[in-house]
Symmetry: none
Subunit: 196 residues, 4 copies
DNA sequence: GATGAATGAGCTTTCATTCAT
DNA sequence: TATGAATGAAAGCTCATTCAT
């Protein structure tokens, strides 16, 4: 599912199964045996492809983020901030719908595994927010936002807003009209960023 | 600490200890033994006051939310939306700083615990968002927001923004100038809610 | 059995069980579950008293050696070398008969557990041989041995001879006339140490 | 290496690899995969030549002992007991140095392996000791030893002394002057065997 | 009530062995 | 013949929960 199922790669098979199981039960309740069963392989086989449970989780998230990043590459520097945000939101949410299971695992801030994983996930968040801040900084220089916008705070707020939408879409309501929702959301956000 | 230490209640003792331990290690890695040690009571004693680990967790979150709600009661219906949001943000974040441990557990740590806890935490979120929506609906009727604001989406966005600030304050940066940050944030949010 | 069963010490209970099981199957084949069963306690109980399987093994050997050492304390500095050796041999073998299981585990050079244990057992052997060499050195000074005896080599040889007797007694033949055997052995050894 | 590399036999290849790996980690910690890697063959190939891990171990030891025995054949019946022992010791220790890995496995590592292996190794020891006793008996008849030497006990003692030297040479000290050490040792032993 | 020693289900991980290629 | 991907039994260890004191 991650790759178009060209080769019967066991690795992909296991990653997909892991996405399902991890998203269903959370990291700790997920049993390696269930992942194996879901993938239709033996328990030992997982360990041929992944070092440990921790490692499997990390790989899964990394894979998800890579895939997600690839999708975002379309974004060009020339677009207006509004357009960029619209695309960011849209890609994020579309991805969450298409890869529901993976998304639950990979994009969740809540995922708490070992201390190690925890730190790793946290650093990921910080990086994302930092990147968003950069985007805002550039827009601010081009006069697309208010002169005295605190881009640091704004980045945090926007990231949270996006995360919240994502949560709604992924965990609660069955996805409604995404595009409309995104349009409205970005409009609000943009108004919030502009000068009074 | 949760209650003004009127009765030397073992219950409070345990809840405080649980807040510390759960926040340190997350739900699954936290051991009942550590909670007992932290509280200075025997392992068995915990079970005199709480049915199970799951139950202890729930009680802890419930207690936290109650306390948090109580603090919010000050909010009067007559305030402007901006003022209400400012207070919401402020109370939320102040609470997170004053009760750091409890906050880490009660307001985050989703997706952990048993299936049961999971659903329960999720329903809590929905309720909070619903209440926020109500607040927006009332403001909308009084013309404090744009005419065609989708209060449902707005509530989700705002909740996420607040959550993101909270995360920053609680987990990452050592709390800076909270009031200033809240003012800025609410300003942005309010602009976002007003008509173009 | 190690202590006269005065208190129903679980620790002793487990050590005795471990001696039995380890001696029966060797370190690796021995399962903690079997030790537990043999001791008539739950699997978890072992871990209340010992850190790990490795640790249990080490404690067992240490306990054995302590007990064995205590028995040897009788040895006085004034005795002749022959007398000392006779006592060394006798104590060693008597101990092996009385505490057959423990002896198999504790006095065996063969026990190979983890790399860690291996080194530890090896160092134990070296220490024993060193102590034997000291004894020979003193005797040499008092003229009880040949003038040009290489006490280092002699110590190794004697240690091996004793070990071999021990093996015979412990693992193979049902113990015959120990005292006679020891007398003969020490006589041979003493002759070997004297001048030509 | 075991055979003069006449045929490029996979079998020898594997045995040599097994000697290395078994001696490095001991029987249980040694993994068949490592043996395969060391031998430069596939894991499955080992099973073309050996029934099981147990079997591989046995073959290895048997091979070692055969080779060792072959080397000893030089021993003629006419030699004096002292000469015979000197040769026994020398061959034993030289072998241990030349085939360090094999030696570590074949002559030690008792008590490891399955119950089966254990008994087998033990019986090997008994046979060796018995043969040594025969040698002593013959010497006794020829008057080379004391009249009332208990050859049974003596054999055990000598075997242990030799084993101890071997241990020293193989596991602990980097081999020093072997010949000198052997001369000294045999001298001591011989004195021990002679009449008072 | 309060305790903590005792428990065993449950989990991750290893590795000898098999078998389709 | 040779291979190594796949397997699953087996084992060490954890920890929520119980219950005799």
């Amino acid at each position: 599912m991650l790759k178009p199922a060209s080769s019967t790669g066991k690795r992909e098979l296991i990653l997909n199964a892991a996405a399902k199981v991890f998203s269903r039960h959370g990291f700790h309740r997920a049993r390696m045996e269930d992942v194996a069963a879901e993938a239709g392989v033996g328990k030992g086989t997982i360990y041929e492809y992944f070092e440990s449970k921790d490692s499997l989780f990390k790989e899964l998230v990394r894979e998800g983020l890579n895939f997600y990043s690839r999708a975002k590459l379309a974004e060009t520097g020339k677009d207006s901030l509004g357009e960029k945000l619209r695309r960011l939101f849209l890609v994020h949410l579309k991805f969450s719908i298409d890869y529901r299971d993976l998304s639950k695992v990979a994009l969740s801030d809540y995922a708490t595994g070992s201390e190690d994983i925890r730190r790793w996930v946290s650093s990921m968040r910080q990086e994302k927010v930092a990147r968003l801040k950069e985007m805002l900084d550039q827009a601010k220089e081009r006069g697309e936002t208010g002169r005295d916008l605190d881009t640091g705070v704004a980045a945090v707020l926007i990231w949270g807003a996006l995360g919240s939408l994502w949560y709604q879409v992924t965990w609660e309501e069955p996805p409604p009209d995404i595009d409309g929702m995104v349009d409205q959301s970005v409009q609000m956000v943009m108004r919030g960023l502009e000068n009074g």
